[in-house]
């Protein structure tokens, strides 16, 4: 074994090395801050997240320093490799964590794995640098120089991070920018080294990592969009893809929100407005709502309202997605929202495609609540067609009343009134109404019955939104939401999906 030749760095190399202490120290702290911020953002409870991430990170640095004793050979080229690796891991860390969060089953494992890996690498840096520089400086000077640059770097990082980086660049871009800083140290060292000690593979690896970081920087915008976590304004507490949809639950200070395929379904703050408006104008008009059919509404919130009516003997709830009804039945926090409606013996849940279910279904229902996601796709659009309403009408008892969630009459007035036109084409009489739900805006429903729509008989006491005095106001439409002529939505024209896309398009950008 040949002993490695001790480094005799030229002046420029020494200077670059000291400068690199500053850079790597800054980068190291930035990665730590990124991980801590991300963890508290994604997992909530910032004090715990920050202190465990920082603890894990410092511990891993200790491990790295300890491991440095086993590093033998050409210290400078090993240092370069460590830099390349840190640049890759640290640079991509924020993007990777965002992207991974909804995908992996145990996010903590991914988070701490990454924190430990980066920490250990960063822990290697300073001992290696000290060894490289030991021939250039006296020991006293060396320790002073290195630690000074190290702490200055920490200060730079901790000031830049909250004041400039997060607000200006965002977490994902910040990661890439500092990855690039890391990699430029590696490249600078490789270029200064005499040709004989330069390893072509190292240079190639460094250039590849540079390219990936630059690409990441430019794609950050898109990564942000892919990473749905960044898409939601609130911390995500649950995310899952079922065969039918992407379910995401978020929570911010007690407000739980459900998104299906990125579309808000409810906010626990104001859903009572939506669900009271969905249910009570109907139940308040039916003489004896013994049998109630709910199509959609797998969150159980409409069922909760319906169950408050003691006259109701049975609620038949048809929702496509078993995962949805299971989640809202078995998760304590969510079941609390719907008052454990889905576990009630008065509720029977059918997980089926409502389009097929109504075709086979027999029986008569005194009230039908149709609460489907907005007609954003042709498949969903079928649930708003004349044909579908004819099938539902067949299930609606004489004297029964139904209602249909009908999107926003303010943003999409043509779409909103298309529902009424279509219900009428199916032989029913229809009447639009609307309510203000802060998290949705102005929202619309369409009531329908076989004959004339009966007057409101009564509302139960204790509703938070509707009273017999305020209910009639729901039916008043100012000119910007007023009824207008629309086509009938049919299976073979899907007029609603088309007008919905036109009317909502400008709002979604």
């Amino acid at each position: 074994m040949t002993a490695p030749t001790p480094d005799k760095p030229q002046a420029s190399l020494a200077f670059v090395l000291l400068l690199s202490v500053l850079v790597v120290a800054t980068c190291g702290l930035i990665y730590e801050l990124l991980a801590g911020t991300l963890a508290s953002y994604l997992l909530g409870d910032s004090v715990t997240q920050f202190s465990t991430v920082i603890g894990a990170y410092l511990f891993a640095m200790g491990v790295g320093s300890w491991l440095s004793r086993y590093v033998k050979g050409d210290e400078l080229s090993i240092f370069v490799r460590v830099e390349v690796l840190i640049a890759l891991l640290g640079g991509w860390s924020a993007a990777a964590l965002f992207l991974l969060f909804p995908l992996v089953s145990d996010f903590r494992l991914a988070l701490y794995g990454l924190v430990l890996a980066i920490g250990a690498m960063v822990g290697l840096e300073i001992p290696l640098l000290i060894r490289i520089l030991q021939h250039r400086f006296a020991f006293r000077e060396l320790v002073s120089n290195v630690l000074t640059f190290d702490y200055v770097g920490a200060l730079v990082a901790s000031v830049l991070f909250p004041l400039l980086l997060v607000p200006q660049l965002g977490l994902i871009r910040t990661g890439f920018v500092f990855g690039l800083a890391n990699i430029s140290v590696a490249i600078a060292l490789l270029l200064i080294l005499p040709r004989s000690r330069r390893n072509a593979a190292d240079l190639a690896a460094a250039l590849l990592v540079t390219a990936s970081l630059i690409a990441g920087l430019f794609l950050a915008e898109r990564l942000q969009r892919w990473s749905e976590v960044a898409f939601y304004q609130e911390p995500v507490i649950y995310a899952r893809s079922t065969p039918y949809q992407r379910m995401v639950l978020t929570r911010r200070s007690g407000d739980i929100r459900l998104y299906l395929n990125g579309n808000l379904q409810f906010s626990s703050r104001d859903e009572y407005r939506y669900h009271e408006a969905l249910v009570w104008p109907v139940l308040g008009r039916v003489a004896n709502p013994a049998q109630v059919l709910v199509l959609g509404g797998g969150d159980g919130l409409a069922a909760r309202e319906i169950l408050r009516d003691r006259r109701v003997q049975r609620v038949t709830l048809v929702d496509l997605d078993p995962e949805m009804t299971r989640l809202f039945r078995d998760t304590p926090q969510l079941a609390a929202l719907n008052g454990h409606a889905l576990a009630s013996p008065r509720v029977s849940v059918h997980n089926a495609d409502a389009f097929r279910w109504v075709k086979e279904a027999r029986g008569q229902y005194d009230a039908v609540i149709v609460d489907f996601p907005d007609p954003t796709e042709f498949s969903l659009g079928k649930l708003y067609t004349e044909h579908f309403y004819r099938e539902v009408a067949r299930l609606l008892a004489p004297g029964g009343v139904m209602t249909v969630q009908s999107t926003s009459p303010l943003i999409a007035p043509r779409s909103f009134w298309t529902v009424a036109t279509t219900l009428e084409a199916a032989g029913l009489s229809a009447r639009g109404y609307h309510a203000y739900v802060p998290s949705f805006g102005e929202w619309g429903f369409t009531m329908a019955a076989h004959g004339a729509i009966p007057p409101l008989a009564a509302l139960p006491p204790g509703l938070r939104f509707l009273t017999p005095q305020s209910e009639p106001l729901l039916y008043q439409f100012p000119p910007d939401m007023a009824r207008r002529p629309t086509p009938v939505n049919r299976l073979d024209n899907q007029a609603l999906v088309r007008s919905f896309a036109e009317e909502w398009g400008p709002y979604e950008g």
Binding site: P243, Y244, F378, S379, L491, D492
Partner: protein
Amino acid sequence: MKADRRGVLAGGSALAAAALLPPGCASSPPFPGALSGPDMARGHRLRDGRFPAPDGPAEERVGIAIAGGGIAGLAAGWRLLEAGFTDWVLYELEDEAGGNARSGRNAVSAYPLGAHYLPVPNREARALHQMLDQFGMVTGRDAAGAPRFDPTQLCADLEERLLWRGKWQEGLYPAAGLSADDQRQRDRFFAEMAHFRTLTGADGRPAFASPMAYSSRDPALIALDRQSFAAWLAQQGYTSPPLLAHLRYASRDDYGSELDAISAWAGLHYFAARRGWAADGQGDSELTWPEGNGRLAALLRNSVKGHIRTASPVFAARADGAGAVLDRWDQQAGRAIRTRADLAVLAMPHFVARRIAPALGAAPAFSYSPWVVANVTVNRLPRGPGVPLAWDNVSAGSESLGYVVATHQTSSAGNGPSVLTWYLPLSRETPKAARELLQSRSLSEWQGIVRNDLLTMNPDLDGAIDRIDLWRWGHAMIRPTPGFLNDPARRAAQSLKPPLLLAHSDLSGLSLFEEAHYRGVAAAEAALRALGHSFTSLL
């Protein structure tokens, strides 16, 4: 300009051909599935004349014997029963009647094996309208008497999408990246077709009608039959590559043939004959079902129950005195049986009819394009950039015609398992070479081709394919080659006199449900007339 167009077409098809090459040995593992098609053993035995003649005199006597249970044969039987004539039997070679309109089924869905839709028929297709009404497909009528079709049996929106320049768009005509000249030519072409659609000939009949027998015989229009569609297009100055690619798609979709293999009359018929008669703007729509025209075949079979004898290839037919004699092979009994009928209707492809009834003459055979149909069972629905899944999904860059989705009408789930029916007419080669190709490829080779083509269109289907079943149609579609309208052999076949009559879409030269139905009804009415049975014509 010319070189340009050829460049684009050739470039596109080189790519397409590459996509359709069988994958190398190191390809993915083959999928479960079967390689099937019309019964080859019976077909070859027929071709080679290897059925023994029945011994002894005729064992059966019947008023009318129909040989062949495709749509034409079934429609003939349906027409006979409509007229109250019950003394008839239908012999079918296969184990099930339906012909090219047969269907399959698995745990996920029913699916077509061949024909998959029927455009809302024109008003002149009276017999067909009556049948659809009888089959419960009409839910009402508007003030003018136009039928209102059951919406669940019409193709649901979105009907068609095209993968064009990496993105799915609505409709089958490229919408983006057209030059000013492309747009001009497109607009000129469709304006010209709109003109032909309303044009009437000197004889007062529509220039192009469906069924085609109602079309004008005006010599100026018939003259269009003398040249190929490709030649006509060139003559009219249609050179736009996207336009020609679209027309090629149409020609392969309806006739299984290239633009230079079909007559201009047939090419124009595709675009100018449709005037669907229905209420509520349904006239432009198609009737379709998960099992495609298998639904119509099943309803027809059901309406003539008790008259069909399956697994009974007819291998000889001749006039005998005032009546007809048919020899058939009874697969179940394992012997030949002779039937004497007052009249026989041969409702089989013309190349078979000529073989079993030498009296029809040895005129040069009609020519047929071979097709491959794959039913691909997937555990989730395809997606892709741009507009979402449609019923019919076509890629501008592929040699296949894309796929239709069996569950398109029946589900609102937006996902879940389904069956995709994938179509490929082998139109590039001569029919003979194509049939050899059809036979030479193994199940796993075809599966590889289908898989590669599907994954090129929909990379998102990777891992979603559960099985691929192949169906080979050796003589799938009659080709309306230039001159077919006035082809003496076809004229002779159309005007055959009792006791032997013909009924098949081949007589129209257009392989379409409306044509098969018309030919069946026409033969039945000719038979009733010959037998002196009174009826009111539906034609």
